[in-house]
Symmetry: C3
C-alpha cells in the first residue's frame, strides 16, 4: 500500500503517469464519474484549510465516492488526548483513503505508519504540502506543454514559503529548469534549499530583489503571499508587504506567454486588475488541483478505469 | 447563467412555474431522485444557520447530488483575508451550484458577479433571505390553493424582521392581498416598506397593536420571533417580548381555515400547546422549504426532468 | 416506529437478530451496498464526538445512503434557544433517520417523542450510549462465539464509566456471565449498579483492586479510560491514573484466548506495546462498531435486504 507524504515520493516517470491520468480526467470526466463508487474519503483536518479540504472532497465526489471527516481539531477526538496513531487506526475502519492536515511536522508520516488505508499528507505544519506541488506541476505542464526547459520566477516570502521550497525540490528533477528567486533580502531562500537542493542538483538560478528585473525572462511567475505572522514586528511587515505586488503595469514587462500562478489565497500581492489578463492562471490552477487529486486518489487506491 | 439574490428576481409567472415544479416534486419524489446525479452543491456558510444549510443540503441529496462546504467562518479561508470574490472563483472549480450565507449585506451579490456557477443567496445580513420567502409563498399557495385574495397577518418584530419585509415585497405582486401588521408601536414596519412598497403598490393594509383584534379576519397568520439582540435595553425586551405570544386561547378567535406560519426557530412566541392544532403549519413549512429548494436547484441548473 | 434509547430496548432475541445481521453484513458487504439508496442520516451532535459521529456516517455511507448534520452546538440552532423538540421536528423534514448526541441526560428521549423519524441515542450526558454497548456485545460474540458462559473483567473508572454500566446492564441478561470488577476503592461500581443490577439479577461478581489478580481468570478484559475531569483534584488524578495501565508484562498473566476491549479513545491505560498482541481487539472493535450500526440503521428503517 502506498501513501503520499512528499511530492518526491513519486519518480519523475510516476509523476508523468499521474499527470497523464489527470489530463485524461480533464478531457473525459464522465469516464471517471463512477470509478470510486462505494469508496469513502476521510478528511482529517486538525487545522482548518477550506481550499485544501474542499478540493480533496470535490475530487472524491467527482469520482462517485463519498466523504466523511472533520474540519478542525475542535470537533475531533484530539482534544481527548488521542494520538494520531490511534486516530488513523480508527479511521482505517471507517474509510478507504484519507487526507490529513495537521499543524505538527511529521504527523502524516506517523499516521501512514499505523494506517490500513492510503494516507495523503494534506499539509503538516511548515513541512510538506505535496498535493499543492502536484497541482503546480500539472498546471505548468498543462499550460506550457512540458516541465523541462522553463524559466520560473518564484516571488515573495521565499524564506518560510513551504510551497516554494517543495516546488523547487520537485522542479530540479527536470532538465534545464532555470529559477529566478525574487524576494527581499530578509526573506531569501534559506541556505538548506540553496546549497542542498539547487547547488547539489547543479540547477541554474539567480536571486533578484526587484520583480521588474525578473519579469521579462519568465515562462512562469509563481507568486506567494507574505504572511503577516511570519514577521517579528508590525513595522517590518508594513515596510515589505507591498514590495512584491503584481499589477497591470508590471505585467506589461512580462512575455505574452508567461503564466502567473499562485497557491491561493491571495491577499493583495496580485492586484485584482490582473485577474482579467489571459496570463492569470491562478484560478485555473485551482481547477487543476481537483484533477490531480482525482488522479492521486485513483492511483493510491489502485483503481484502473 | 442565473442566480437567486432576491425573491423578486423571478417574475410572478416564473414563480408560478417554480412552485408548480415544487408541487410536482412533492407528489412524485422518485421521479426526481436522480435528477442531479453527479452534481455538487457547495454550502458556504460564513455564519452558522443550521436550518437553512440543512434544508439546502437535504434538497440536493434528494435530487441524487452531493454536498460539500463549511458551516462557519472559523473553518473557512475567510480568516486568512480572502475576499468573497476569490472564494467563489475557487468554489466554482469545486461545485456546480452554491448556497451562500454571509453576515454582510451584498456579499452574495458580489459573489454572483465573479462566479462561474449559480449562486443562491441563503441570507446576507439583515438584507435578503430569498429562499425563506419562496418557502413562505409555496406554503401559503399549497395550504390555501392560491396567493391572490388572501388576508395575511404579520406579527412580531416588523421593524427589523427581514423575512417579513421580503414577504411583503413578494405578496404585493399578487391581486387583492390584504396585510394586517401586528406589532408594538416601537417595532412597526419601517416607512420604506410602508411608503415604498405597500403604498406604492396600492396594497390594502392596516396596523394593529393587539393580536386578538387581527385574528378573526385572517387567512394566514405569520408569526415571527422577537430577537433579543434587536433591543437597546433589557427592560424594553422584557416588557414587550410576551405581548405577541400565540396560545390556545388566542387560537379560539381565529377562523377554522386560518394557518399559522413561522420561519423558525421559535422561542416562546408560539406556545407549545398550539403545535397540536391542525392549523399549526410551521413544521409543514419546513418541509415545503425542501421542495422549493429542490425546484430552485433544478431551475438554476437548467435541469429538466 | 422504533427508536434506540437504551441497549435494553431490544430483547435478547432481538439483539441476536441484530447481531446476526451485523455478521452477515461483515461477510457480504456488497449485498448491502445499496440497501439505503436515497435515504439520509442526520447526525445531530450537540457536543463533539468524532468517533461516534464518523462510525454512524460510515455505516450509512456503506449502505449507499447519504449524510447531513452538524458536529457541535456552535454550528447549530441551539444557540438561538430552540428546543430539542423543535429541532427534531425540523430534522424530520430533512432526513429519514437520525443519530443524536447531547450533553443533557434524556435529550434523545425527548427528541424521540416528537420525531417523525427513528432516533438513535448516540450518547446523552453520562446516561446512555447504547450503540457503544451494541458494539461491545457484537465484538465479544464475534471473538468468543457466544455471550453466555464468559468471565469478563471491567477495569478502570467503574464509578463514572457510562460504557461499563451499560455493558453490565446488557450482559446480566445472558447465562452464566461472571464479572470481575477491577478498580481503586475510590472508583468502585456505584451501589445502584451493584444492588439493582448485579445482585437483583443474581449475577456472579467479585471486586478486586489489582489488575494482576484478575487477569488469569478472564475471557474478556474491558479497559476504560480514567477521565481527568472526573477527579476532584489533580493530586488524586496523578496518584491513581497509572494504577490500571495494561502493558506487555501484565499481558503475560492473561490466558492465550483472552481479548482486550476498550471503547476508545485511550490515553495511556493500554501501553502501545500491547497493540501488536493478537489478543488486542480494541481496533477490531471499532470495525464491529460500523457493522452493528449498519444493522441498526437497516432495522430501525425496517429495510430488508
Amino acid at each position: 500500500m502506498r501513501h503520499l507524504m512528499s511530492p518526491l515520493d513519486f519518480t519523475v516517470e510516476e509523476l508523468d503517469n499521474l499527470m497523464d491520468l489527470a489530463q485524461d480526467i480533464e478531457k473525459n470526466p464522465k469516464k471517471y464519474a463512477h470509478a470510486c463508487d462505494g469508496k469513502k474519503l476521510a478528511t482529517l483536518f486538525f487545522e482548518p484549510s477550506t481550499r485544501t479540504r474542499l478540493s480533496h472532497e470535490a475530487a472524491m465526489l467527482n469520482l462517485g465516492g463519498s466523504v466523511l471527516g472533520f474540519s478542525s481539531a475542535d470537533s475531533s477526538s484530539a482534544t481527548k488526548g488521542e494520538t494520531v496513531a490511534d486516530t488513523i487506526r480508527m479511521i482505517s475502519c471507517y474509510a478507504d483513503i484519507c487526507a490529513m492536515r495537521h499543524p505538527k511536522e511529521g504527523a502524516a508520516l506517523v499516521a501512514s505508519e499505523h494506517s490500513r488505508i492510503p494516507v495523503i499528507n494534506a499539509g503538516d505544519g511548515g513541512h510538506q504540502h505535496p498535493t499543492q506541488t502536484l497541482t503546480d506541476l500539472l498546471t505548468i505542464r498543462s499550460l506550457k506543454g512540458h516541465l523541462d526547459n522553463i524559466t520560473i520566477g518564484l516571488c515573495g516570502d521565499l524564506k518560510f514559503g513551504r510551497t516554494v521550497h517543495s516546488l523547487i525540490h520537485a522542479l530540479v528533477r527536470y532538465k534545464n529548469v532555470k529559477f529566478i528567486l525574487i524576494s527581499p533580502e530578509e526573506l531569501r531562500v534559506p541556505s538548506y534549499i540553496r546549497n542542498d537542493v539547487l547547488d547539489k542538483e547543479h540547477a541554474q538560478y539567480e536571486e533578484v530583489v526587484r520583480l521588474e528585473d525578473a519579469l521579462p525572462k519568465l515562462d512562469i511567475l509563481y507568486m506567494t503571499r507574505v504572511q503577516k505572522e511570519r514577521f517579528f514586528n508590525e513595522e517590518d511587515y508594513i515596510r515589505m508587504k507591498d514590495f512584491y505586488v503584481l499589477d497591470a503595469q508590471k505585467m506589461e514587462l512580462a512575455p505574452k506567454d508567461m503564466y502567473v500562478l499562485h497557491p491561493l489565497p491571495r491577499v493583495n500581492e496580485i492586484a485584482v486588475e490582473v485577474d482579467d489578463d489571459p496570463r492569470a492562471a491562478y484560478f485555473a490552477q485551482a481547477q487543476y488541483g481537483v484533477y490531480i487529486r482525482m488522479a492521486l486518489i485513483l492511483t493510491l487506491l489502485e483503481i484502473e478505469v
